[in-house]
Structure formats: structure tokens, C-alpha cells
């Protein structure tokens, strides 16, 4: 049973860190639907670097760097060129999906390195995730940087007038998020399931995107949601732990995705949004141009 709990928490860590990245940029008003693409870049490059150099540290650094660079590209499209954020995000996702399939293919297969030390099956990254959640909460609620970020997400024109450099603040948040997404991807490919195959994330990034909507942009709810999803994911891989022999294992694989749809629908009902809908950053997804 503990094994199962540990595996679930390990899976949840990937959701936590990726979704936290998305949350940070959404608080600053930037919607990035390309989260899965950034994760694929981090996961693939991290995997390749770790496999060729034999160093986990270099692998993770490479993943964080590429995540930041891809996010910089996204920021350039979104903040500087001011294009439609959904189109740009789709671009980042398909770029990641297509390019990593080509670049990673020669490395198909297991990583073949000693596993990172864990605590009775619990990955050290779980604690990294929890720490990042606390840091994010602290930055957003206690520091002036957090206030700046939130204000450019709520009303960029007012923020600009009060002396905040909107574009610089948004770039900062976008790059930070990209680094977190890259890290999350690498935790998947170097620690959670160290085997490379084409498009191996198969929707994890989109699950993380749904989690951000679910979290009401609150990092602690995000952590709870990630643990829920991590458990659900692990359960869908090992259904025999709960309901042995009921339904095919393929049908179980659909459960986390179906649950995401159900949760998302609940969240978008009038009943829900009239109570807690105000948490949504006012300027989310809108391009900002200086007057």
C-alpha cells in the first residue's frame, strides 16, 4: 500500500510543478496552452543530456534551461508581438511535439542509469514540489514582486500607470514558468518513468492546464488537486489494487482523462463560478499594448 501511495505522490509531483509554472504566468495574465510542448522539450533534452553525459544534474539543468528558452520564445510571440495567446500556445505545443519526436527518436528506450535515491520509494522531488508551492504562495502574498505580478494579471494599464513595467514583469513570470515546466518534464523522463518513446507525455501537460483552472489560482489547492490527480493516475495504471478484475486495463486508462472533463464541467457551472469565479485573473489571455 505504501508503495502505491509513494508512486502516487511521485506522479503528483510532476503535475504540481508543471501546473505551478502555468499558475505563475496565469497570475500575470498570460495563458499558455502549450505547457505540454514545454514539458516535452524539458523531458526530451534532459533525457538526452543525462544519457550522454551520465549526469542527472546536467540533465535537469538542460531541461530547466530549454524550458526557459522555449518560454522566452513564447513570451516574444505573446508579449512583444502580441499575437493570439491560444494560437501561440498551440504553436509551442506542436513544435514541442513534432521536434522532440524527431530529436529524441535515436534515444528511444530506457535511460539505463542508477535511480535517484528515494526515501522508501518517495522521490526527493516531492519535497521540492511542496517547497516550491510554499515559496510561490509566499512570493504572491507577501512580496512586492508578487503584488506586481498579480497586478499585471488583473489590470495591466493601471499597473503601468503606477510605475510597473508590465512587459518586463510578464517576461519574468513566463520564463520562470517555462523553467518549472521543463523541470517537471525532466522529473517525468529522468525519475518517474525513465524510458523515452514518442510523445510519451500523452496529455500530462493538458491535465496540468486543467489543474490550474481547478485550483482557482491558489497554490495550496493546486497541491491538493495534484495529489488527487497523481493518485487517480496511479490507480488507472494499477486498478487491481482497488477493484481487481473489474473492467479492462485499457478502460481504466481513460479514467483520469474522464475525471478531468467532469471536474472541469463542475468548475464551469454557474453555481460554482458565481461563488468562487472571482479568483480568475481579470486580464488572463488578453494581449497588452501600451497606449
Amino acid at each position: 500500500m505504501w508503495d502505491f501511495i509513494a508512486r502516487s505522490l511521485n506522479a503528483s509531483t510532476i503535475f504540481t510543478i508543471a501546473a505551478l509554472g502555468e499558475l505563475i504566468e496565469q497570475r500575470a495574465g498570460i495563458l499558455n496552452v502549450g505547457i505540454e510542448g514545454v514539458m516535452l522539450f524539458g523531458a526530451t533534452l534532459g533525457f538526452i543530456v543525462a544519457k550522454t553525459t551520465g549526469s542527472y544534474l546536467l540533465g535537469f539543468l538542460a531541461a530547466i534551461t530549454i524550458g526557459g528558452l522555449i518560454a522566452l520564445l513564447y513570451g516574444f510571440f505573446t508579449i512583444t508581438l502580441g499575437g493570439n495567446q491560444v494560437v501561440n500556445g498551440m504553436g509551442i505545443w506542436i513544435l514541442g511535439f513534432g521536434l522532440t519526436a524527431y530529436v529524441g527518436y535515436p534515444y528511444t528506450g530506457p535511460l539505463g542509469m542508477d535511480r535517484i535515491t528515494d526515501f522508501f520509494g518517495l522521490s526527493p522531488f516531492f519535497f521540492v514540489g511542496v517547497a516550491l508551492i510554499i515559496v510561490t504562495w509566499w512570493v504572491f502574498s507577501k512580496t512586492s514582486l508578487g503584488l506586481k505580478m498579480r497586478s499585471v494579471g488583473e489590470n495591466p494599464s493601471v499597473a503601468e500607470v503606477s510605475g510597473i513595467n508590465v512587459n518586463r514583469t510578464r517576461y519574468l513570470s513566463v520564463i520562470t514558468s517555462g523553467m518549472l515546466m521543463g523541470l517537471a518534464g525532466a522529473i517525468y523522463s529522468l525519475n518517474y518513468n525513465p524510458v523515452w518513446s514518442i510523445n510519451f507525455l500523452m496529455g500530462w501537460g493538458f491535465l496540468a492546464l486543467a489543474l490550474v483552472f481547478f485550483s482557482m489560482w491558489n497554490s495550496f489547492i493546486l497541491l491538493g488537486g495534484s495529489i488527487l490527480f497523481g493518485t487517480l493516475w496511479q490507480l488507472s495504471l494499477n486498478p487491481e489494487l482497488v477493484l481487481p478484475g473489474v473492467l479492462s486495463r485499457y478502460i481504466w486508462r481513460t479514467v483520469p482523462f474522464a475525471m478531468t472533463i467532469i471536474v472541469l464541467v463542475l468548475m464551469s457551472t454557474k453555481w460554482f463560478s458565481s461563488r468562487w469565479g472571482a479568483a480568475k485573473p481579470e486580464a488572463l489571455g488578453l494581449p497588452y499594448e501600451k497606449e
Binding site: 496552452v33 520564445l73 510571440f77 508581438l81 499575437g83 493570439n84 491560444v86 494560437v87 501561440n88 498551440m90 504553436g91 509551442i92 506542436i94 513544435l95 514541442g96 511535439f97 513534432g98 521536434l99 519526436a101 524527431y102 530529436v103 527518436y105 535515436p106 514518442i198 510523445n199 500523452m202 496529455g203 493538458f206 491535465l207 492546464l209 486543467a210 483552472f213 479492462s248 486495463r249 485499457y250 478502460i251 486508462r253 481513460t254 482523462f257 474522464a258 478531468t260 472533463i261 472541469l264 464541467v265 464551469s268 457551472t269
Partner: protein, 370 residues
């Protein structure tokens, strides 16, 4: 910005003419091809030779051309499935799931006629083939209706929902064709059963008849969006759902309708790919690759500015590039997945070029001060 004695300025465009849009699209494709040539260089292949091989296999080779046409029909159908919701401002990235469901629908019909139990039976093609297509359309429309209904009723984010449905239907197909699933073939390789020869799709000009459906559909959609009331209603909704509501257009019916139509068309793409392409006639083990290929429909739809007629030559080009790409990676010993890399590069180039739909660069000579 100043360059020598010229001043370069960005000016906002108010309107993009059809020719401007076409020029921008062609330029975007060319730039993407130039960027992909770095992949050839990195593999120590002269890009010009690489592209020559790709195009000559895809468009002049007697084995390559039919493959290109089959692939292009598939991409064109996926493009139409993307375009219809996009006209209403909604993102259908669920063509993969809808085409899997379409394939399941088509094979369910054949299954009901006993095609799996008696593979040598002679079924009446005049009855079974149209019914298989109806099955495919129903399957696709059913999966398409979900995001449409949820968008219309609760304003649920259609991007996440369609993506989730891609994964859900992916595993449903696995359930149906693997590990003793109902549609599993006899070979035990985890692929679908093979259709009896009597219900192979009819051919015209040496290719599957679905080419007529794809071209007819593109023309039909073009007319719907330029001549018919419903087309205008969908476009109005796409420009502003609020304005559409004031004009009496239902903000429930439009999302539902466009996603049902989109899913239906993607379902036909599933029929085409698994039941009509010569030599296949079963749900293959690598069905997921075709789901991936359906994302070319997104690029094709965006690059054609959601014009179904303009999408035809682009689908043909992309069909040729993906098909020829697969061929050269074997012949010139490139890495696997040139078609995937091209997909990514095309998309990001296009995203960059959307800037020029909104802005134009103006060069002005600076007058020397007197």
C-alpha cells in the same frame, strides 16, 4: 527604427486581402522548409537533393503518388474538421479522437454484418459501405458533440476537453483491438480484424473514392460559409459571441453544431484511413501515428485562413511532404520522424507569421533636412 537613410515602421493593418494572406502563407511555408533544411545539413545531406527526392517520390513516382493522394485526402478531411469549429472561434484539437471513434463506428457496422466472424463472406457493398460511412460519421459526431455540448451549456474550455477525449478514445481503440478485444484480428498482433474483400472501398482513377467526398466537402463548406445564413451565423458567433446573442443566434446551438459537424468529418477521415486506403482495411497497430498526423489539419486550417478551398492545395503539399519525408528518411538514412519535425517547424513559423496578418512593415525614405 532607422536603417541608413530609411525609416522602418510597423503599421497596423485594418484588413488583409486574399492575395496578401496567400502571399504570407506561401512565405511561411517556404521559411519553414528552409528551417527544416538544417535537419538535412545536420545529417550531412544536401537539402536541395533532400527536397528533390521528397518531391519526386511524392508527386512523380508511381508508388509514391497514390500514397500522397491518400495522405492528402486524410489531411484535407482533418482540416475541414478543424475549420468548421474554428469559424465559430472554437478550437477543435480533437480530430485524433474523433477519427479513432469514426474508425470504431465503421468497423462496428462491418462487425454487425459478420465481417469478423466470416472473413470470406460476400457482403453487399452497396449496403454495407454506405452504412459503414454512416457509422464512422456517427462515431465521430458523438465524440465531437461532447466538447460542443459542454461549451454551449457551461462554457467549458474546449481545448482541454477535446485533448482529454483524444486520450480517452485512444485507449478505447486499444481496448477494442488488443488483448482479445471484440475487434481484434486473428493474428494476435494487437490489431483490428481485416475487412472482407467484398466491402473494400470502390476505387476511382486508381485511388479510393473518398477523394470525391473530401473535395466535395471542401467545396460544400466553402459555399455554406459564403452563401448561407447558417454560415454567417457561425462566423458572427466566431467574431463575437455576445454580438451573436443580440442578433438572436443561440450560444448553445452554434458550439454544439460546429463540433458535431467537425466530429462527423473527422469520423470520415477515420473511415478513409482504415477502411478505404488500399492495402490497409483494418485498424492498424500504429493507429496513434495517424492521430498525430491529424494535427496537420490544424496547420492546414490556420495557413489557409480557414478557407476550405485554399486548404486543398495545401493539404496536397503537406500530404506530399509527409509521405516523401518518410521515404527519404529511409533512402538518405536520416533519423526517424522528419514528418514530425516538419509539423513542429511549420507550426511555429506560421505562429510567427500571424504577426504579418496584423501589421505591415513600412519603409520610408527620410528626407534630408534642408
Amino acid at each position: 527604427m532607422k536603417l541608413g537613410s530609411y525609416e522602418v515602421k510597423l503599421e497596423k493593418k485594418l484588413k488583409v486581402t486574399g492575395w496578401e494572406a496567400a502571399a504570407i502563407s506561401i512565405l511561411a511555408i517556404l521559411i519553414a522548409l528552409v528551417l527544416v533544411s538544417f535537419i538535412f545539413l545536420q545529417a550531412k545531406v544536401n537539402p536541395l537533393i533532400g527536397y528533390k527526392e521528397i518531391f519526386s517520390f511524392a508527386f512523380t513516382n508511381k508508388f509514391g503518388l497514390p500514397l500522397t493522394i491518400n495522405r492528402s485526402i486524410f489531411i484535407l478531411l482533418c482540416t475541414c474538421a478543424f475549420i468548421v469549429p474554428m469559424k465559430a472561434g472554437l478550437w477543435n484539437i480533437g480530430m485524433a479522437g474523433q477519427l479513432y471513434a469514426g474508425a470504431l463506428g465503421a468497423f462496428a457496422v462491418a462487425f454487425a454484418f459478420g465481417a469478423k466472424e466470416s472473413p470470406n463472406s460476400t457482403l453487399s457493398p452497396g449496403i454495407v459501405i454506405p452504412l459503414m460511412m454512416v457509422g464512422a460519421m456517427l462515431g465521430g459526431a458523438l465524440i465531437g458533440a461532447i466538447p460542443g455540448f459542454l461549451k454551449g451549456s457551461f462554457n467549458t474550455n474546449e481545448i482541454v476537453v477535446t485533448m482529454m477525449l483524444n486520450s480517452i478514445t485512444f485507449w478505447l481503440v486499444a481496448y477494442m483491438i488488443k488483448d482479445g478485444g471484440p475487434f481484434m484480428g486473428g493474428g494476435g498482433e494487437g490489431e483490428g480484424y481485416k475487412l472482407p474483400e467484398s466491402i473494400f472501398a470502390p476505387q476511382i482513377f486508381g485511388g479510393p473514392f473518398t477523394v470525391l467526398i473530401a473535395l466535395g466537402l471542401a467545396a460544400f463548406l466553402y459555399f455554406i460559409f459564403t452563401r448561407f445564413k447558417i454560415g454567417y451565423q457561425i462566423k458572427t458567433f466566431g467574431l463575437s459571441p455576445t454580438a451573436a446573442r443580440y442578433a438572436g443566434i443561440s450560444s448553445f446551438k452554434i458550439p454544439l453544431l460546429v463540433f458535431i459537424i467537425g466530429g462527423l468529418i473527422a469520423g470520415l477521415a477515420g473511415y478513409h484511413n482504415f477502411a478505404a486506403v488500399p492495402g490497409v482495411y483494418k485498424i492498424t497497430q500504429n493507429y496513434g501515428n495517424y492521430g498525430d498526423l491529424s494535427f496537420y489539419g490544424i496547420i492546414c486550417g490556420l495557413i489557409s485562413q480557414q478557407n476550405p478551398l485554399a486548404a486543398i492545395p495545401i493539404a496536397l503539399l503537406f500530404g506530399g511532404l509527409t509521405n516523401g519525408g518518410r521515404y527519404v528518411q529511409g533512402k538518405l538514412k536520416l533519423g526517424f520522424g522528419i514528418d514530425y519535425a516538419l509539423l513542429g517547424v511549420l507550426m511555429i513559423t506560421l505562429v510567427f507569421f500571424q504577426f504579418f496578418y496584423r501589421y505591415k512593415i513600412v519603409w520610408k525614405k527620410i528626407d534630408k533636412e534642408v
